[in-house]
Structures are given as C-alpha cells and as structure tokens.
Amino acid sequence: MSSPRSSSLLAWPATSSSRAGRPAVSPEERRRTTLKRKIKENLTAYGLLCAALVVFALFSWYPIVRGVLLSFQQVDFVNAPTWVGFDNFAKLFEDPLFGVAWRNTLLFTGLALVFGFAVPFLTAVLLNEIRHAKAFFRLAVYLPVMLPPVVTALMWKWFYDPGPGLFNSALGAVGLPGGQWLDSSGTAMLSLVFVSTWANMGSTTLIYLAALGTIPGELYEAAELDGAGVWKRLRHVTFPQTRFVLLVLLLLQVVATMQVFTEPYVMTGGGPDDSTVTVLLLLYRYAFVYNDFGSASAMSLLLFVALGVFSAWYVRLTRKADQS
C-alpha cells in the first residue's frame, strides 16, 4: 500500500514539502535570493543602528565640525555668525590670562603626575603584599571615587578653611602652625592637586593592582634565586611587567588633568591672584561669562591640538623605547 517514499512523506512532511517547494533553482535565481537576503540584512542592521547614528551625528560628529568652524567665527547669538579668520586666536594671545591659564594648567598636570602617578602605584604595590583585610583596603581607596566631584570639592574647601578647618585644627592639635591652603597663591594649586589625587587615586590604584595580579610568580622566584633583593625585584620584575599599564595610564592622566575644571571652579573660582585659573576655567569664562563662543572654541581647538601633539609624541617615544 505504501512505498518507502510515501511513508517518508507522511513521517516528515516538513522536510519533504520544503524540498518539494524548492525545485532546482538556477544560479541566477539563487544569486538574486542571496542578494535579496543581503539587502534585507543590511536594512535591519541599519535600522538597529539608526538611533546611534543620529545621536553620534548630532552630538559628536557635527559638533566636531562646528567647533572648528566656530573657532574662526564671531558668534554672540544676537547677530548672524561672521567669519573672522584668526581674530579669535589673536584675541586669546593678547589676553594676559591666557598664558597664566596654560602655565597653571601645566603646573597642575605636573604636580598631579608627581602625586597621582607615584602614590597610586606605590599603594598598589603595597596592597599587593598585604594579606589581610584586602576587601577593606579596596573599598576605602575607591570610596572617594564614588562621591560626586562637587561634594568632594565643597567638602575639602571646608577642610582647608584656615579657621575651624580640619587641617589647621589637626596641625594645631599637634602644636604646628596652620597654613593658608586655598587662600594663598603659593599653595592654592598644590591644595587642588591634593584633592584631585585623593578623589581619583582609587581607580588608578585598582587598575595597577589588577596589573600586578597578572605577573607570574615564577619571575619573582627566579629573580630571588638569582640573589635579587626586594628593590631589585621591584625594579627588574614589577616595573617591566606593568610597564604597559603604567605608560597608558600616564597618557590618560595627562589628558584628563589638562582638562581640570570642577576643583578650581568650585573651590577657588580661579583665585587667589589668578593662581588657579586653568585653561578650561578660562574657556568657560569666555563662553558663558563673556558670551564669546568663537574665542572659547578657539581655545578648545588649541587644547585639542596640544593634547593631540602630546599623545602622538608620547606614543612615538614609547614605541621607540620599546624597539631599542
């Protein structure tokens, strides 16, 4: 009654019907269907991408172009923007605060490197050796990172208060004279660097700690068998093994600290005697106090170029050092 073929038809209707529904296709036809499928897939992909493309176009790609254009325009939102060539740059160079802002920013970055680079690394090396209360140390060092920067800045402004502030009270308690901290142009920038280091060292410390965790223990063992003491092991094993992370974080830190804004804006407003006016603080004043968006954009362009040149030089330098 039933041939093998018809029984398979009954048992596997899906397979058979699909086989029956798709007779031998010509290569031409097959190419057309794969093309159709390709088009459909591309459309779906761009459908899923379209929201991202819109936000990137509006808030990233377009502002990049707009920023360069603004640098060469006079913009005040009352009159139509006019093309002024390099006038904005010339205006910046004439502003005596411009040089001050760059000097202050470089000072901040330099001091931040001294503290913000050495302290977290040494802390990480130390924490890597400690076998007790590991969770506490990680939590403590990272806690300030979670505080809103404005809260940190306001809190430390109060700590620095020459009257009832924490610092002078503590110094007074051990019989030392207090300092002027934020109120003296000599120490204001240093005080800001201190806050910034305190607030941000948690993340770098934990990144270093993660890098230290990947160093194979045999390297230390071998070095020890060769008679290397703790310092030699630190120099010849720990440093080379974490070199890459150290170099990358150095670059990131320079780029980040050159853009310092919240601390001087909240804690000193640029004072005393303009000793804490940074590039970004001046940029903010140009745009949102003087309403001169052209000069402010020219300033961002200069900052971008400076950081770009530095990054390129730094990457080249480290690559050269790697090859030799």
Binding site: N42, T44, A45, L53, S60, P63, F136, P148, S169
Partner: protein, 289 residues
Amino acid sequence: MRTLVSPSALRSPRGKVVYGVVFACTLAVFVIAFMFPLYWAITGALKSPQELAQTPATLVPHEWHPETFADAWSQLNLGKYFLNTLVVAGGAWLAQLAIDVPAAFALSKLRPKFGNVVLGLMLATLMLPATALLVPTYVTVTDLPLLHLNLINSPTAVWLPAAANAFNIYLLKRFFDQIPDELIEAARIDGAGPVRTLWKIILPISRPILAVVSILAVVTAWKDFIWPLLVFPDTEKQTLSVMLQRVAIDMPLNVLVAGMVLASLPMVALFLAFQRQILAGLTAGSIKG
C-alpha cells in the same frame, strides 16, 4: 600567589614582625586618609552651627543634632533635586542601553556594509578630549540642526549626548563578538528575526556586560558637573551637584554638609551593593599588559 615578597621571608620571625608593622601602618594611613574625612563630614553635619564654627574644631560633637539632616532635606528642597538627578541619570542610562546595545549588536553580528567605517568613526570620537566638544555641543543643543529644537533645561540635553558613547559600543561589541555565530544561525533557522534574537538570546547571556555598562552610565551621570551646569540654567531643573554648588555660599555650613552627605549616599550605597561589577567595569576597558 607569589608576589614581590617571598612567602618564606614572610614566615620568618623577623618577616612576621615587619609584615605586622607595615600592615598596621597601612591600615592607619587608610583609615585617616579615606575614612576620617567621611567621619568628619557626617559628624560635622551633626554639630550645632556654633560648634562647627569653633576653633579648634571638635573631634566628637559636644551636642548631637540629628535633626540637621531633616532641616537640610526641607531647606535645600532635596526631594526635588534628588528626583531631578534621578530623572537625568535614569534617562541617560536607558538612552545608552536602548541606543548602544542594538548598535553594537548590528555591528557585531549583522556586519552590514560599511559597518567598519561606522565603527571607526564612532571610536575616533574617543580620541577627542571630552571638553573639546563642550562649546560646540552646547551650541548644538541650544538649536538642533534641521529640527531647530532647544533642549536647554530639558533632561534630553543630557540623555541624548550620553548615548553617543563610543566606549559603550566598544565594550558591548567586544562582548557580542565572543558569542558564537552558530547561536544566531540556530535562532534564524528557528525563524527568529534579528530583533527577536537580540531580545531573547543575546540580552540574557550578556547580563555581565549590561551590568557594567549600566553602572558606568548611572555613576557617570550622577557625578557629572560641568555639562548639567551648562544645560540647566533653570534652578528648578538642576541636578544635586549643580544645586549644591549654587547654594554653597549662602547656606549655613551644617545644613550644607548634611546636604552633601545625603547627596553622596545613593552612590555609596550603589558601590557597596555592586562592588564587583563596578570594579569589573574599571578594568573592562583596559587592555591586558
């Protein structure tokens, strides 16, 4: 695990003493440097204004004024500003997930034509220092091209730029790249379209990376200062950070400090609850050295 100091050196009597001293010193420094400022802030809020202004400052409050926290809540109108911050941060989080996840999925698994160009253009924005775009993005937000909308004082002024986050797309794409294509192929044979595949298969197995992206999004939005300062000139719309900075000069110090402590609590609580994900997020972007 073997580290700089050898285990045998640690086990020797001298090693034990040195370790004990180093441990105690580190513990003391950490407590003074990181815990004490927080103690000082919390107890500062509990002191009376007179005691707070007194020189030298007191270590333990003579009088306790826990009601300062309630005063700060009502005087600073903290409820409103908490809600504003929550709307800004929550919206930024949702916008980043809703926009960046499908984009990363499309780039990773559907691999459309010119996908690499699109990805390259997105990643290129990471090279720019964040502040280089501050002024032009502000100008753009005041008058969106083509649409001519002014987003100033609207939370969308934070949400939408936050979604243009190439780092998120990079993190998500890198995670999606590790998901075997066979899984997607199998879903397609079962008749699931790409959107269904993303929703039913990719998202459930991507929970770890979604947690990292989510926490980064919320923490960044909660901590941000300069952008909200620019886009919320209306004092009623401001976030906690912007408001605290604005009222800092005029408020009694104890009320201000109480407000600062309260404004920090959500982030500290978030950290305590999601330590693992937060610390994973910290090293997620870094490349193995």
